[in-house]
């Protein structure tokens, strides 16, 4: 067996990030198994079996996997890993939490956030907030890899007919437990897979003012993001943050509004296809990487932009 992918899912659905990982594994070559680990995750398992290019799906459906606790996931993945050359996950907070723990117990050095597969054991990954690209060669057995999903196209979610197997869980390790989760519930697309992202920075001045960006995002079918400064100031929750230590996005259109463009922010969005910057400071570094820059007060420009969209 070649590739084992740890699926991202919510029990019912496989998340888009997993489709990008399938294509990364495809680039390395060999057969593909997806592990769907969770509680009440049979539907997600069936969905995984439809993904084009997947040979086998293993469903591990057991209560101890309900909340993604690394202490419970790790022994299971370590046990499964012996059959595979490469263990793959998306560079999401779930896999970032679990896979290094797996790698350490397998005594291998994980390769984080790859952006290109050059060969079965040769990869590119960004370092220094994307200001340098390292080419890495590995002889680890197995390789444990997380994938920057924006760097790979998504595999087709249907057309596949993988076999489905089931495995028993290994029980609760009893050293960690889930208490609660507080999410920003939103009807908008996920930040990391949206085609349009409109982000606000410190220049937004308040959380209320983000409503202006939300209106535009809704008209364009996009998501709303933010710079670290806007999150630190409490304007919006942490899951809006785009950047080196937040989310990495690469939409068709990225609009940076009232964001100066610190390198840590650029690290999270500079691979977007088209970048628009709106800032009243003409010297803001964001203009150096923007395809279209507008030097203007955002409180004039954004309502005008919003109104103009209605006339298209």
């Amino acid at each position: 067996m070649t590739n084992l992918i740890i699926a991202e899912h919510d029990g019912k659905n496989i998340k888009p990030a997993t489709l990008n990982v399938v294509n990364a594994a495809n680039a390395a070559g060999g057969n593909i198994t997806i592990a769907v680990i969770g509680n009440d995750c049979g539907d997600a398992g069936k969905m995984a079996a439809q993904i084009s290019g997947v040979n086998k799906v293993i469903i591990i459906d057991s209560p101890e996997y309900a909340h993604g606790l690394a202490e419970n996931f790790t022994p299971l993945i370590v046990k499964m890993a012996v059959d595979y050359q490469t263990i793959w996950g998306a560079a999401t907070t779930m896999s970032k939490n679990i896979l290094p723990r797996v790698a350490a117990l397998l005594d291998v050095q994980q390769i984080s956030e790859i952006t290109k597969v050059l060969a079965v054991n040769k990869f590119e990954r960004p370092i220094y907030a994307g200001n340098a690209i390292a080419t890495i060669e590995s002889n680890e057995k197995p390789n444990v890899i997380t994938v920057r999903t924006t760097a790979f196209d998504a595999a087709s979610a249907d057309g596949g007919s993988a076999t489905i197997e089931k495995l028993d869980g290994l029980g609760d390790k009893g050293i960690s437990s889930f208490i609660n989760a507080a999410g920003s519930s939103s009807e908008r697309p996920e930040l990391t897979s949206a085609k349009v992202v409109i982000s606000g920075g410190r220049g937004m001045q308040s959380g209320e003012n983000f409503a202006m960006l939300e209106k535009i995002a809704d008209k364009l079918g996009g998501a709303v993001g933010a710079s670290r400064a806007a999150v630190d100031a409490g304007f919006v929750p942490n899951d809006y943050q785009v950047g080196q230590t937040g989310k990495v996005v690469a939409p068709d259109l990225y609009m940076a509004v009232g964001i100066s463009g610190a390198i840590q922010h650029l690290a999270g969005m500079k691979d977007s296809k088209v970048i628009v910057a709106i800032n009243k400071d003409e010297d803001a570094p964001i203009f150096q990487i923007a395809d279209y820059g507008l030097v203007a007060d955002l409180f004039d420009a954004i309502p005008e932009f919003d109104a103009a969209l209605d006339e298209l």
Partner: protein, 249 residues
């Protein structure tokens, strides 16, 4: 309660990175070096736990060249009690770092390890998780709120979907995120005092740990630069460009 805090010496976050012409790495000669910003947050959290009467001793550990002593002195000036440098010229990978720290855990027996969630140079985000695995301890990663209880801790984690709170037994490894606290600056008297705090130096060999890198770095290149764009004069022109030139709206 003893707290162990690893601190890494990295290129300062304000420095514009330059890739060496021979593609062997990133230029670090005559470049300002600082403590990894996430590690400052770890140290700050440890100090606050000591000020609250929960922690009794804070040990700052660094791994790397002899100049890492400066990074340890910074931690001592902020308020850590003593330092350990594991001196090596090898660029130790996260797995090696975790093994060295595990060896220190075995000697020092701390109950809590506060680790920066990632270092801003190699951006791996692995050390805390690997250390927890090797120690057989639970982990709380990407933590923005931390409360210690009796034999366990509650941590709020910054995850892709928002916030998540978990409870883990202690001893534990906690990796800290940006919003856990705002690190203090060291005062001049404390910087002077830090020079007299104990700092032990040892090597990976002393700890019997092999830190030979597992991965080979073939080369380090500059990323493809984005072409400069245009400044538009008005919202109307911006809309026109996005619709008719870029075709994204």
């Amino acid at each position: 309660m003893k707290i162990l805090v690893p601190v890494k010496r990295v290129v300062d976050y304000n420095v514009n990175i330059r890739v060496k012409a021979d593609q062997s790495g990133v230029e670090t000669a005559n470049v300002k070096m600082s403590m990894n910003p996430f590690d400052e947050i770890s140290i700050e959290q440890a100090i606050r736990l000591k000020e609250a009467g929960i922690a009794t001793e804070i040990i700052a550990v660094s791994i790397g060249v002899s100049q890492c002593q400066e990074t340890i002195r910074t931690a001592l000036a902020m308020g850590a009690d003593r330092g350990i440098l594991i001196e090596t010229d090898i660029a130790v990978e996260p797995l090696g770092v975790a093994k060295l720290l595990k060896a220190i855990i075995d000697k020092e027996e701390p109950e809590l390890i506060l680790v920066g969630k990632q270092s801003i140079d190699d951006d791996s985000n692995q050390t805390a998780q690997m250390l927890a695995a090797l120690a057989g301890w639970p982990q709380a990663t990407f933590v923005s709120k931390l409360e210690l209880g009796d034999g366990s801790l509650e941590a709020t984690r910054e995850v892709d979907g928002g916030l998540e709170t978990i409870k883990v037994n202690m001893p534990a490894v906690v990796s800290v995120d940006l919003r856990l606290n705002e690190p203090r600056y060291a005062s001049l008297p404390n910087i002077m005092k830090a020079k007299r705090k104990p700092l032990d130096v040892m090597t990976p060999d002393d700890l019997n740990i092999d830190v030979t890198p597992r991965l080979t770095t073939v080369n380090i290149c500059e990323p493809v630069a984005r072409k400069g764009g245009v400044i538009v004069a008005s919202v109307a022109e911006l809309i026109d460009k996005l619709k008719n030139e870029a075709k994204v709206i």
